[in-house]
Protein backbone atom coordinates (compact mmCIF):
# COMPACT_ATOMS: atom_id res chain seq x y z
CA UNK A 1 0.00 0.00 0.00
CA UNK A 2 1.13 3.53 -0.81
CA UNK A 3 0.38 6.22 1.77
CA UNK A 4 0.08 9.73 0.32
CA UNK A 5 0.47 12.58 2.79
CA UNK A 6 -1.50 15.58 1.54
CA UNK A 7 -0.26 19.10 2.26
CA UNK A 8 -3.59 20.77 1.45
CA UNK A 9 -2.81 20.93 -2.21
CA UNK A 10 -5.08 21.19 -5.23
CA UNK A 11 -3.03 18.59 -7.12
CA UNK A 12 -2.80 15.81 -4.51
CA UNK A 13 -5.69 13.78 -5.90
CA UNK A 14 -4.08 13.72 -9.32
CA UNK A 15 -1.11 12.14 -7.54
CA UNK A 16 -3.44 9.66 -5.83
CA UNK A 17 -4.99 8.66 -9.16
CA UNK A 18 -1.60 8.26 -10.77
CA UNK A 19 -0.18 6.02 -8.04
CA UNK A 20 -3.45 4.05 -7.91
CA UNK A 21 -2.64 2.74 -11.37
CA UNK A 22 0.09 0.63 -9.72
CA UNK A 23 -0.96 -0.18 -6.15
CA UNK A 24 -3.56 0.44 -3.46
CA UNK A 25 -3.34 4.05 -2.28
CA UNK A 26 -4.46 5.69 0.96
CA UNK A 27 -4.37 9.46 1.41
CA UNK A 28 -4.67 11.64 4.52
CA UNK A 29 -3.99 15.24 5.38
CA UNK A 30 -0.64 15.95 7.06
CA UNK A 31 -2.38 17.08 10.25
CA UNK A 32 -4.55 13.96 10.34
CA UNK A 33 -2.04 11.12 9.96
CA UNK A 34 -3.23 7.57 10.59
CA UNK A 35 -0.41 5.71 12.36
CA UNK A 36 -1.69 2.28 11.37
CA UNK A 37 -1.75 3.16 7.67
CA UNK A 38 1.64 4.77 8.02
CA UNK A 39 3.22 1.65 9.47
CA UNK A 40 1.48 -0.66 6.99
CA UNK A 41 2.53 1.33 3.94
CA UNK A 42 5.36 0.05 1.78
CA UNK A 43 5.83 3.48 0.21
CA UNK A 44 5.21 6.97 1.58
CA UNK A 45 4.54 9.85 -0.81
CA UNK A 46 4.86 13.47 0.25
CA UNK A 47 2.42 15.55 -1.81
CA UNK A 48 2.88 18.97 -3.37
CA UNK A 49 1.57 21.91 -1.37
CA UNK A 50 1.77 25.64 -0.68
CA UNK A 51 4.47 27.26 1.43
CA UNK A 52 7.85 26.10 2.62
CA UNK A 53 9.13 22.79 4.09
CA UNK A 54 9.66 24.48 7.45
CA UNK A 55 5.85 24.91 7.68
CA UNK A 56 5.39 21.12 7.93
CA UNK A 57 7.31 19.74 10.95
CA UNK A 58 5.06 16.61 11.20
CA UNK A 59 6.04 15.62 7.68
CA UNK A 60 9.72 16.11 8.49
CA UNK A 61 9.33 13.86 11.52
CA UNK A 62 7.73 11.12 9.40
CA UNK A 63 10.51 11.34 6.87
CA UNK A 64 13.25 11.07 9.49
CA UNK A 65 11.47 8.21 11.24
CA UNK A 66 11.13 6.06 8.12
CA UNK A 67 14.30 6.91 6.22
CA UNK A 68 15.93 3.69 5.07
CA UNK A 69 12.95 1.62 6.26
CA UNK A 70 10.41 2.42 3.54
CA UNK A 71 10.53 3.74 0.02
CA UNK A 72 9.76 7.47 0.07
CA UNK A 73 8.84 9.78 -2.80
CA UNK A 74 8.46 13.56 -2.69
CA UNK A 75 6.69 15.69 -5.27
CA UNK A 76 7.28 19.45 -5.57
CA UNK A 77 6.98 20.58 -1.92
CA UNK A 78 7.61 16.92 -1.02
CA UNK A 79 10.87 17.02 -3.01
CA UNK A 80 11.91 20.15 -1.11
CA UNK A 81 10.75 18.65 2.19
CA UNK A 82 13.08 15.64 1.88
CA UNK A 83 16.07 17.75 0.88
CA UNK A 84 15.29 20.21 3.69
CA UNK A 85 15.34 17.32 6.17
CA UNK A 86 18.74 16.36 4.79
CA UNK A 87 20.06 19.83 5.59
CA UNK A 88 19.66 21.53 2.21
CA UNK A 89 18.46 25.12 1.87
CA UNK A 90 15.25 25.85 -0.04
CA UNK A 91 15.21 29.33 -1.54
CA UNK A 92 13.05 31.63 -3.70
CA UNK A 93 13.93 31.73 -7.36
CA UNK A 94 13.96 34.79 -9.62
CA UNK A 95 11.83 33.23 -12.34
CA UNK A 96 8.78 31.42 -11.09
CA UNK A 97 7.26 28.40 -12.78
CA UNK A 98 3.53 27.92 -12.28
CA UNK A 99 1.70 25.98 -14.96
CA UNK A 100 4.86 25.92 -17.01
CA UNK A 101 5.90 23.14 -19.39
CA UNK A 102 9.68 22.58 -19.57
CA UNK A 103 12.14 20.18 -21.09
CA UNK A 104 14.28 18.44 -18.52
CA UNK A 105 17.28 16.22 -19.10
CA UNK A 106 18.79 13.21 -17.31
CA UNK A 107 22.32 14.38 -16.46
CA UNK A 108 23.63 11.64 -14.19
CA UNK A 109 24.62 8.07 -15.01
CA UNK A 110 23.60 6.91 -11.52
CA UNK A 111 19.96 7.53 -12.49
CA UNK A 112 17.34 4.82 -13.09
CA UNK A 113 16.71 6.70 -16.34
CA UNK A 114 19.02 6.79 -19.29
CA UNK A 115 21.53 9.66 -19.27
CA UNK A 116 20.77 12.25 -21.93
CA UNK A 117 17.06 11.42 -22.14
CA UNK A 118 14.74 14.44 -22.32
CA UNK A 119 11.28 14.63 -20.69
CA UNK A 120 8.54 17.25 -21.17
CA UNK A 121 7.13 18.08 -17.74
CA UNK A 122 4.70 20.38 -15.92
CA UNK A 123 6.03 22.66 -13.17
CA UNK A 124 4.42 24.54 -10.27
CA UNK A 125 7.11 25.84 -7.98
CA UNK A 126 8.10 29.14 -6.44
CA UNK A 127 11.05 27.74 -4.49
CA UNK A 128 14.07 25.68 -5.45
CA UNK A 129 17.02 23.78 -4.01
CA UNK A 130 20.01 25.97 -3.19
CA UNK A 131 23.15 24.64 -4.79
CA UNK A 132 25.93 23.52 -4.52
CA UNK A 133 24.41 20.66 -2.61
CA UNK A 134 26.18 17.53 -1.43
CA UNK A 135 24.65 14.83 0.73
CA UNK A 136 25.76 11.21 0.85
CA UNK A 137 23.86 8.88 -1.50
CA UNK A 138 21.65 11.68 -2.90
CA UNK A 139 22.23 12.40 -6.59
CA UNK A 140 20.68 15.18 -8.64
CA UNK A 141 19.67 13.20 -11.72
CA UNK A 142 17.64 15.58 -13.90
CA UNK A 143 17.84 19.30 -14.55
CA UNK A 144 15.81 21.89 -16.45
CA UNK A 145 17.42 22.11 -19.90
CA UNK A 146 17.16 25.89 -19.84
CA UNK A 147 17.67 27.13 -16.26
CA UNK A 148 19.63 24.05 -15.00
CA UNK A 149 17.53 24.02 -11.80
CA UNK A 150 17.51 20.60 -10.07
CA UNK A 151 14.41 18.65 -11.12
CA UNK A 152 14.88 15.18 -9.60
CA UNK A 153 17.04 13.49 -7.04
CA UNK A 154 17.52 9.77 -6.49
CA UNK A 155 18.88 7.94 -3.50
CA UNK A 156 18.95 4.38 -4.79
CA UNK A 157 20.56 3.04 -1.59
CA UNK A 158 17.72 4.13 0.73
CA UNK A 159 15.08 4.18 -2.04
CA UNK A 160 14.26 7.87 -1.69
CA UNK A 161 13.17 9.81 -4.76
CA UNK A 162 12.07 13.36 -5.44
CA UNK A 163 10.45 15.26 -8.30
CA UNK A 164 10.51 19.05 -8.32
CA UNK A 165 8.10 18.94 -11.27
CA UNK A 166 4.65 17.28 -11.29
CA UNK A 167 4.59 13.79 -12.86
CA UNK A 168 0.77 13.80 -12.38
CA UNK A 169 0.17 17.03 -14.36
CA UNK A 170 -1.47 16.85 -17.78
CA UNK A 171 1.54 18.89 -18.89
CA UNK A 172 3.90 15.98 -18.15
CA UNK A 173 4.26 13.56 -21.04
CA UNK A 174 4.78 9.94 -19.93
CA UNK A 175 4.42 10.81 -16.24
CA UNK A 176 3.01 7.34 -15.53
CA UNK A 177 6.18 5.70 -16.85
CA UNK A 178 8.33 7.78 -14.52
CA UNK A 179 6.28 6.69 -11.51
CA UNK A 180 6.17 3.06 -12.62
CA UNK A 181 9.94 2.88 -12.83
CA UNK A 182 10.47 4.50 -9.43
CA UNK A 183 7.89 2.21 -7.82
CA UNK A 184 9.49 -0.91 -9.22
CA UNK A 185 13.01 0.19 -8.24
Amino acid sequence: MIYVIDHNDSFTHNVVHQFSLFDKVECDNYNNINKKKLSEASTIVFSPGPGNPKDYPTTSKIYKGFKGKKKMIGICLGFQQILFCEGAKIIEQKKIYHGFQSNIKVINNKSLFQKGKIFKVGRYHSLKLKEPFKINNFEITMRCSESKVAMTFENNKDKIYGFQFHPESFLTINGNLLIKKILSA
Partner: protein, 384 residues
Protein backbone atom coordinates in the same frame (compact mmCIF):
# COMPACT_ATOMS: atom_id res chain seq x y z
CA UNK B 1 -51.38 31.60 -25.44
CA UNK B 2 -48.04 32.67 -26.92
CA UNK B 3 -45.15 31.75 -24.61
CA UNK B 4 -43.56 35.19 -24.70
CA UNK B 5 -46.89 36.67 -23.59
CA UNK B 6 -47.14 34.00 -20.93
CA UNK B 7 -43.71 35.06 -19.66
CA UNK B 8 -44.65 38.71 -19.51
CA UNK B 9 -47.94 37.82 -17.77
CA UNK B 10 -46.08 35.88 -15.11
CA UNK B 11 -43.65 38.76 -14.82
CA UNK B 12 -46.42 41.34 -14.40
CA UNK B 13 -48.35 39.20 -11.93
CA UNK B 14 -45.49 39.55 -9.45
CA UNK B 15 -45.14 35.76 -9.01
CA UNK B 16 -41.57 34.64 -8.34
CA UNK B 17 -39.96 32.75 -11.23
CA UNK B 18 -36.62 31.57 -12.58
CA UNK B 19 -35.27 31.40 -16.13
CA UNK B 20 -32.32 29.11 -16.90
CA UNK B 21 -30.59 28.61 -20.25
CA UNK B 22 -31.27 25.23 -21.82
CA UNK B 23 -29.72 23.73 -24.94
CA UNK B 24 -32.35 25.03 -27.33
CA UNK B 25 -33.66 28.08 -25.50
CA UNK B 26 -34.65 28.82 -21.93
CA UNK B 27 -36.58 26.95 -19.25
CA UNK B 28 -38.95 29.01 -17.17
CA UNK B 29 -39.69 27.61 -13.71
CA UNK B 30 -42.52 28.98 -11.61
CA UNK B 31 -45.45 28.14 -9.27
CA UNK B 32 -43.07 27.49 -6.42
CA UNK B 33 -44.56 25.20 -3.78
CA UNK B 34 -41.54 25.44 -1.50
CA UNK B 35 -38.85 28.01 -0.87
CA UNK B 36 -35.92 26.95 1.28
CA UNK B 37 -33.62 29.63 2.66
CA UNK B 38 -30.31 27.99 3.37
CA UNK B 39 -27.98 28.58 6.27
CA UNK B 40 -24.90 26.79 7.60
CA UNK B 41 -27.12 24.48 9.68
CA UNK B 42 -29.70 23.26 7.18
CA UNK B 43 -27.60 23.06 4.02
CA UNK B 44 -26.29 19.51 4.47
CA UNK B 45 -29.73 18.08 5.18
CA UNK B 46 -31.10 19.94 2.20
CA UNK B 47 -28.52 18.41 -0.15
CA UNK B 48 -28.78 14.90 1.35
CA UNK B 49 -32.58 14.67 1.35
CA UNK B 50 -33.98 11.87 -0.84
CA UNK B 51 -37.23 12.06 -2.79
CA UNK B 52 -39.55 9.37 -4.09
CA UNK B 53 -41.05 11.11 -7.10
CA UNK B 54 -38.53 11.81 -9.77
CA UNK B 55 -40.15 11.43 -13.14
CA UNK B 56 -41.49 14.93 -13.81
CA UNK B 57 -39.46 17.80 -15.25
CA UNK B 58 -40.32 19.79 -12.12
CA UNK B 59 -39.04 17.13 -9.70
CA UNK B 60 -36.10 19.24 -8.71
CA UNK B 61 -34.90 22.09 -6.53
CA UNK B 62 -33.55 25.11 -8.38
CA UNK B 63 -31.64 27.97 -6.79
CA UNK B 64 -28.20 29.00 -5.60
CA UNK B 65 -25.51 28.45 -3.01
CA UNK B 66 -23.77 31.68 -2.00
CA UNK B 67 -20.01 31.91 -1.61
CA UNK B 68 -19.97 31.99 2.19
CA UNK B 69 -22.11 28.88 2.48
CA UNK B 70 -19.75 26.96 0.18
CA UNK B 71 -16.75 28.01 2.27
CA UNK B 72 -18.49 26.83 5.38
CA UNK B 73 -19.20 23.44 3.79
CA UNK B 74 -15.46 22.83 3.41
CA UNK B 75 -14.73 24.22 6.89
CA UNK B 76 -13.28 27.53 5.82
CA UNK B 77 -14.21 30.40 8.09
CA UNK B 78 -14.69 33.89 6.71
CA UNK B 79 -13.75 36.81 8.98
CA UNK B 80 -16.41 39.45 9.69
CA UNK B 81 -17.05 41.42 6.53
CA UNK B 82 -19.27 44.26 5.35
CA UNK B 83 -22.54 42.50 4.68
CA UNK B 84 -25.87 43.46 3.12
CA UNK B 85 -27.55 40.50 4.87
CA UNK B 86 -28.57 38.84 1.67
CA UNK B 87 -29.54 35.15 2.21
CA UNK B 88 -26.65 32.64 2.02
CA UNK B 89 -28.56 30.42 -0.38
CA UNK B 90 -32.13 29.92 -1.64
CA UNK B 91 -33.76 26.98 -3.44
CA UNK B 92 -37.25 26.65 -4.91
CA UNK B 93 -39.46 23.69 -5.78
CA UNK B 94 -41.25 24.58 -9.02
CA UNK B 95 -44.60 23.06 -10.03
CA UNK B 96 -44.53 24.39 -13.55
CA UNK B 97 -41.94 24.46 -16.31
CA UNK B 98 -42.39 26.30 -19.59
CA UNK B 99 -39.95 25.99 -22.46
CA UNK B 100 -39.27 29.25 -24.27
CA UNK B 101 -37.05 30.03 -27.24
CA UNK B 102 -33.86 32.07 -27.27
CA UNK B 103 -35.52 35.28 -28.42
CA UNK B 104 -36.74 37.05 -25.32
CA UNK B 105 -38.64 40.09 -26.52
CA UNK B 106 -39.83 41.69 -23.31
CA UNK B 107 -39.46 45.45 -22.93
CA UNK B 108 -40.23 47.43 -19.83
CA UNK B 109 -42.90 50.08 -20.28
CA UNK B 110 -41.32 52.34 -17.67
CA UNK B 111 -38.43 54.61 -18.44
CA UNK B 112 -35.29 53.48 -16.69
CA UNK B 113 -33.10 55.96 -14.90
CA UNK B 114 -29.66 54.62 -14.12
CA UNK B 115 -27.09 56.30 -11.94
CA UNK B 116 -23.34 55.98 -11.94
CA UNK B 117 -21.53 52.94 -10.61
CA UNK B 118 -19.15 53.19 -7.69
CA UNK B 119 -16.21 50.83 -7.42
CA UNK B 120 -15.08 49.55 -4.01
CA UNK B 121 -11.36 49.34 -4.81
CA UNK B 122 -9.56 52.10 -6.70
CA UNK B 123 -6.52 51.57 -8.93
CA UNK B 124 -4.07 52.48 -6.17
CA UNK B 125 -5.39 50.13 -3.55
CA UNK B 126 -5.72 47.46 -6.22
CA UNK B 127 -2.02 47.85 -7.01
CA UNK B 128 -1.14 47.60 -3.32
CA UNK B 129 -3.14 44.38 -2.92
CA UNK B 130 -1.54 43.12 -6.09
CA UNK B 131 1.99 43.68 -4.77
CA UNK B 132 1.16 41.97 -1.52
CA UNK B 133 -0.04 38.81 -3.29
CA UNK B 134 2.86 38.76 -5.71
CA UNK B 135 5.07 38.37 -2.64
CA UNK B 136 2.92 35.48 -1.45
CA UNK B 137 3.33 33.86 -4.87
CA UNK B 138 7.10 34.29 -4.68
CA UNK B 139 7.18 32.57 -1.30
CA UNK B 140 4.96 29.74 -2.59
CA UNK B 141 1.89 30.37 -0.40
CA UNK B 142 -0.35 30.61 -3.45
CA UNK B 143 0.24 30.01 -7.16
CA UNK B 144 -2.62 32.17 -8.37
CA UNK B 145 -5.23 34.28 -6.57
CA UNK B 146 -8.37 36.07 -7.82
CA UNK B 147 -9.22 39.31 -6.07
CA UNK B 148 -12.83 40.47 -6.24
CA UNK B 149 -13.86 44.04 -7.09
CA UNK B 150 -17.44 45.29 -6.70
CA UNK B 151 -19.32 47.86 -8.75
CA UNK B 152 -22.48 49.21 -7.12
CA UNK B 153 -25.29 51.56 -8.04
CA UNK B 154 -28.62 52.56 -6.54
CA UNK B 155 -31.45 51.88 -8.94
CA UNK B 156 -34.76 50.15 -9.30
CA UNK B 157 -34.50 47.74 -12.20
CA UNK B 158 -36.90 45.64 -14.21
CA UNK B 159 -34.98 42.33 -14.20
CA UNK B 160 -36.76 40.79 -17.19
CA UNK B 161 -36.05 43.85 -19.30
CA UNK B 162 -32.37 43.63 -18.33
CA UNK B 163 -32.21 39.89 -18.89
CA UNK B 164 -33.92 40.13 -22.30
CA UNK B 165 -31.49 42.77 -23.50
CA UNK B 166 -28.54 40.83 -22.10
CA UNK B 167 -29.62 37.60 -23.81
CA UNK B 168 -30.04 39.38 -27.14
CA UNK B 169 -26.38 40.32 -27.19
CA UNK B 170 -24.81 37.73 -24.94
CA UNK B 171 -26.42 34.31 -25.05
CA UNK B 172 -24.28 32.64 -22.41
CA UNK B 173 -24.60 28.86 -21.91
CA UNK B 174 -25.16 29.19 -18.15
CA UNK B 175 -27.32 32.35 -18.17
CA UNK B 176 -30.09 32.60 -15.60
CA UNK B 177 -32.42 35.00 -13.94
CA UNK B 178 -34.25 34.87 -10.61
CA UNK B 179 -37.11 37.23 -9.84
CA UNK B 180 -38.45 37.01 -6.33
CA UNK B 181 -40.43 39.53 -4.32
CA UNK B 182 -37.49 41.16 -2.56
CA UNK B 183 -34.55 40.55 -4.89
CA UNK B 184 -33.52 39.63 -8.41
CA UNK B 185 -30.45 38.15 -10.08
CA UNK B 186 -29.54 38.56 -13.73
CA UNK B 187 -26.61 36.55 -15.00
CA UNK B 188 -24.83 35.74 -18.23
CA UNK B 189 -22.52 33.20 -16.65
CA UNK B 190 -20.57 31.31 -19.29
CA UNK B 191 -19.12 28.70 -16.97
CA UNK B 192 -20.50 25.27 -16.14
CA UNK B 193 -19.03 23.83 -12.94
CA UNK B 194 -20.94 20.54 -12.58
CA UNK B 195 -22.97 18.53 -15.03
CA UNK B 196 -23.86 15.22 -13.40
CA UNK B 197 -25.99 12.55 -15.07
CA UNK B 198 -25.98 9.17 -13.38
CA UNK B 199 -22.33 8.27 -12.88
CA UNK B 200 -21.07 10.76 -15.48
CA UNK B 201 -19.72 14.13 -14.39
CA UNK B 202 -18.08 16.98 -16.25
CA UNK B 203 -16.74 20.47 -15.62
CA UNK B 204 -15.84 23.20 -18.08
CA UNK B 205 -13.39 25.71 -16.62
CA UNK B 206 -12.69 29.08 -18.19
CA UNK B 207 -9.37 30.80 -17.68
CA UNK B 208 -8.22 33.49 -20.06
CA UNK B 209 -10.15 36.48 -21.39
CA UNK B 210 -9.53 38.60 -24.45
CA UNK B 211 -11.37 41.80 -25.35
CA UNK B 212 -13.07 41.59 -28.72
CA UNK B 213 -12.25 44.11 -31.43
CA UNK B 214 -13.04 44.23 -35.13
CA UNK B 215 -9.53 43.06 -35.91
CA UNK B 216 -9.66 39.91 -33.79
CA UNK B 217 -11.55 36.86 -35.00
CA UNK B 218 -11.77 33.49 -33.28
CA UNK B 219 -8.65 32.08 -34.95
CA UNK B 220 -6.62 35.13 -34.02
CA UNK B 221 -7.92 34.86 -30.48
CA UNK B 222 -6.72 31.25 -30.28
CA UNK B 223 -3.30 32.31 -31.53
CA UNK B 224 -3.19 35.08 -28.97
CA UNK B 225 -3.95 32.66 -26.12
CA UNK B 226 -1.46 30.09 -27.41
CA UNK B 227 1.33 32.62 -27.67
CA UNK B 228 0.49 34.38 -24.42
CA UNK B 229 2.50 32.56 -21.79
CA UNK B 230 0.68 34.19 -18.89
CA UNK B 231 -2.78 33.11 -20.08
CA UNK B 232 -1.50 29.65 -20.95
CA UNK B 233 0.07 29.07 -17.55
CA UNK B 234 -3.01 30.36 -15.75
CA UNK B 235 -5.18 28.03 -17.77
CA UNK B 236 -2.90 25.01 -17.24
CA UNK B 237 -3.09 25.52 -13.52
CA UNK B 238 -6.89 25.57 -13.54
CA UNK B 239 -7.02 22.42 -15.69
CA UNK B 240 -4.81 20.49 -13.25
CA UNK B 241 -6.82 21.83 -10.29
CA UNK B 242 -10.16 20.78 -11.81
CA UNK B 243 -8.72 17.36 -12.71
CA UNK B 244 -7.77 17.13 -9.03
CA UNK B 245 -11.22 18.09 -7.77
CA UNK B 246 -12.82 15.50 -10.06
CA UNK B 247 -10.21 12.91 -9.04
CA UNK B 248 -11.45 13.16 -5.44
CA UNK B 249 -14.85 11.76 -6.43
CA UNK B 250 -14.13 9.84 -9.65
CA UNK B 251 -12.85 6.36 -10.46
CA UNK B 252 -9.12 5.96 -10.95
CA UNK B 253 -8.16 6.52 -14.56
CA UNK B 254 -11.58 7.95 -15.52
CA UNK B 255 -10.73 11.66 -15.34
CA UNK B 256 -9.97 12.83 -18.87
CA UNK B 257 -9.44 16.08 -20.70
CA UNK B 258 -11.99 16.08 -23.53
CA UNK B 259 -11.42 19.55 -24.93
CA UNK B 260 -8.11 21.18 -24.28
CA UNK B 261 -7.79 24.94 -24.52
CA UNK B 262 -10.41 25.97 -27.08
CA UNK B 263 -11.78 29.48 -27.72
CA UNK B 264 -15.42 30.47 -27.12
CA UNK B 265 -16.84 33.71 -28.43
CA UNK B 266 -19.09 36.19 -26.54
CA UNK B 267 -20.39 39.67 -27.19
CA UNK B 268 -17.46 41.65 -25.77
CA UNK B 269 -14.83 38.99 -25.27
CA UNK B 270 -13.26 35.66 -26.05
CA UNK B 271 -12.72 32.95 -23.45
CA UNK B 272 -10.15 30.19 -23.21
CA UNK B 273 -11.98 27.00 -22.21
CA UNK B 274 -11.35 23.29 -21.43
CA UNK B 275 -13.72 20.39 -20.80
CA UNK B 276 -12.90 17.64 -18.28
CA UNK B 277 -14.99 14.52 -17.66
CA UNK B 278 -14.96 11.65 -15.20
CA UNK B 279 -16.95 8.67 -13.93
CA UNK B 280 -18.08 8.87 -10.31
CA UNK B 281 -16.95 6.28 -7.77
CA UNK B 282 -19.69 4.19 -6.21
CA UNK B 283 -21.10 5.53 -2.93
CA UNK B 284 -20.32 9.13 -3.81
CA UNK B 285 -23.19 11.39 -2.72
CA UNK B 286 -24.12 14.79 -4.08
CA UNK B 287 -22.81 16.43 -0.92
CA UNK B 288 -19.36 14.87 -1.64
CA UNK B 289 -19.48 16.25 -5.18
CA UNK B 290 -20.44 19.73 -4.03
CA UNK B 291 -17.72 19.77 -1.39
CA UNK B 292 -15.09 18.55 -3.88
CA UNK B 293 -16.00 21.00 -6.65
CA UNK B 294 -17.32 24.16 -4.96
CA UNK B 295 -16.48 26.97 -4.83
CA UNK B 296 -15.27 26.55 -8.41
CA UNK B 297 -11.49 26.74 -8.64
CA UNK B 298 -11.19 28.99 -11.68
CA UNK B 299 -12.66 31.96 -9.77
CA UNK B 300 -10.61 31.41 -6.61
CA UNK B 301 -7.05 30.57 -7.51
CA UNK B 302 -4.79 27.72 -6.58
CA UNK B 303 -4.20 25.78 -4.35
CA UNK B 304 -7.79 26.18 -3.26
CA UNK B 305 -7.72 25.97 0.54
CA UNK B 306 -4.75 28.25 1.20
CA UNK B 307 -5.87 30.70 -1.47
CA UNK B 308 -9.42 30.88 -0.07
CA UNK B 309 -7.98 31.72 3.33
CA UNK B 310 -5.73 34.40 1.87
CA UNK B 311 -8.47 36.09 -0.12
CA UNK B 312 -11.08 35.85 2.62
CA UNK B 313 -8.73 37.79 4.87
CA UNK B 314 -8.12 40.36 2.15
CA UNK B 315 -11.67 41.07 1.00
CA UNK B 316 -13.61 43.46 3.19
CA UNK B 317 -17.03 42.86 1.64
CA UNK B 318 -19.08 39.68 1.48
CA UNK B 319 -19.05 38.14 -2.00
CA UNK B 320 -22.75 37.21 -1.60
CA UNK B 321 -23.76 35.22 -4.70
CA UNK B 322 -20.52 35.97 -6.56
CA UNK B 323 -18.47 32.78 -7.18
CA UNK B 324 -21.23 30.76 -5.59
CA UNK B 325 -23.19 28.35 -7.79
CA UNK B 326 -26.63 28.45 -9.36
CA UNK B 327 -28.38 25.39 -10.77
CA UNK B 328 -30.57 22.47 -9.88
CA UNK B 329 -30.57 19.24 -7.91
CA UNK B 330 -32.95 16.77 -9.52
CA UNK B 331 -34.84 14.33 -7.32
CA UNK B 332 -33.25 11.47 -9.31
CA UNK B 333 -29.81 12.70 -8.17
CA UNK B 334 -28.68 14.44 -11.36
CA UNK B 335 -27.29 17.97 -11.04
CA UNK B 336 -26.34 20.96 -13.10
CA UNK B 337 -24.53 23.91 -11.53
CA UNK B 338 -22.71 26.92 -12.91
CA UNK B 339 -20.32 29.39 -11.33
CA UNK B 340 -22.07 32.67 -10.57
CA UNK B 341 -20.03 35.28 -12.41
CA UNK B 342 -21.10 38.10 -14.79
CA UNK B 343 -24.10 38.74 -12.60
CA UNK B 344 -26.18 41.56 -11.20
CA UNK B 345 -27.62 41.10 -7.74
CA UNK B 346 -30.40 43.58 -7.09
CA UNK B 347 -31.38 43.71 -3.42
CA UNK B 348 -32.97 46.64 -1.57
CA UNK B 349 -32.76 48.65 -4.83
CA UNK B 350 -29.00 48.40 -4.94
CA UNK B 351 -27.43 46.58 -7.85
CA UNK B 352 -24.03 45.02 -7.38
CA UNK B 353 -21.74 43.53 -10.00
CA UNK B 354 -18.64 41.66 -8.83
CA UNK B 355 -15.69 40.72 -10.97
CA UNK B 356 -12.29 39.19 -10.32
CA UNK B 357 -9.12 38.60 -12.22
CA UNK B 358 -6.04 36.68 -11.39
CA UNK B 359 -2.81 37.68 -9.76
CA UNK B 360 -0.14 35.36 -11.08
CA UNK B 361 3.53 36.11 -10.92
CA UNK B 362 3.80 37.83 -14.28
CA UNK B 363 0.45 39.63 -14.34
CA UNK B 364 0.32 43.38 -14.14
CA UNK B 365 -1.95 45.38 -11.85
CA UNK B 366 -3.18 47.86 -14.46
CA UNK B 367 -3.90 45.12 -16.99
CA UNK B 368 -5.90 43.07 -14.47
CA UNK B 369 -7.77 46.15 -13.22
CA UNK B 370 -8.80 46.83 -16.81
CA UNK B 371 -9.66 43.20 -17.39
CA UNK B 372 -12.06 43.50 -14.48
CA UNK B 373 -13.73 46.42 -16.21
CA UNK B 374 -14.04 44.49 -19.50
CA UNK B 375 -15.79 41.70 -17.62
CA UNK B 376 -18.21 44.11 -15.94
CA UNK B 377 -18.84 46.23 -19.04
CA UNK B 378 -21.54 44.12 -20.71
CA UNK B 379 -23.54 44.36 -17.48
CA UNK B 380 -22.83 48.01 -16.72
CA UNK B 381 -23.97 48.91 -20.26
CA UNK B 382 -27.45 47.61 -19.42
CA UNK B 383 -27.89 50.52 -17.04
CA UNK B 384 -27.43 53.09 -19.83
Amino acid sequence: MNKQNQLSDIHHSGTPYIIYKSKSGFDLYTDFSKKIILNNKNVINFINKKYKNNKKSTDLFIGFFGYELLNNLINIKIPIQKNINFPKGIFYKPEKRIKINNKLKYKSSNDFKGSKFKINIDTNSYSRIFKKFKKKIKSGETYQIKICTKYKTKSKIDPLDFFSRLSQTNLAPEAFMIRDKNYSIISCSPENLITKKGYNISTKPIAGTLKKTKLINKIKALNYFKKNLKETKEHNMIVDMERNDLARICKVGSVKLFKQKIVEEYKDLYHYVSLIKGKLKKNIKNIDIIKAMMPGGSVIGCPKINTLNLLNHQEKENRNIYTGSFGYLKFNGDMRFNIIIRSILNFKNISEISVASGVVVDSNARHEFNENYIKAKALIDLFK
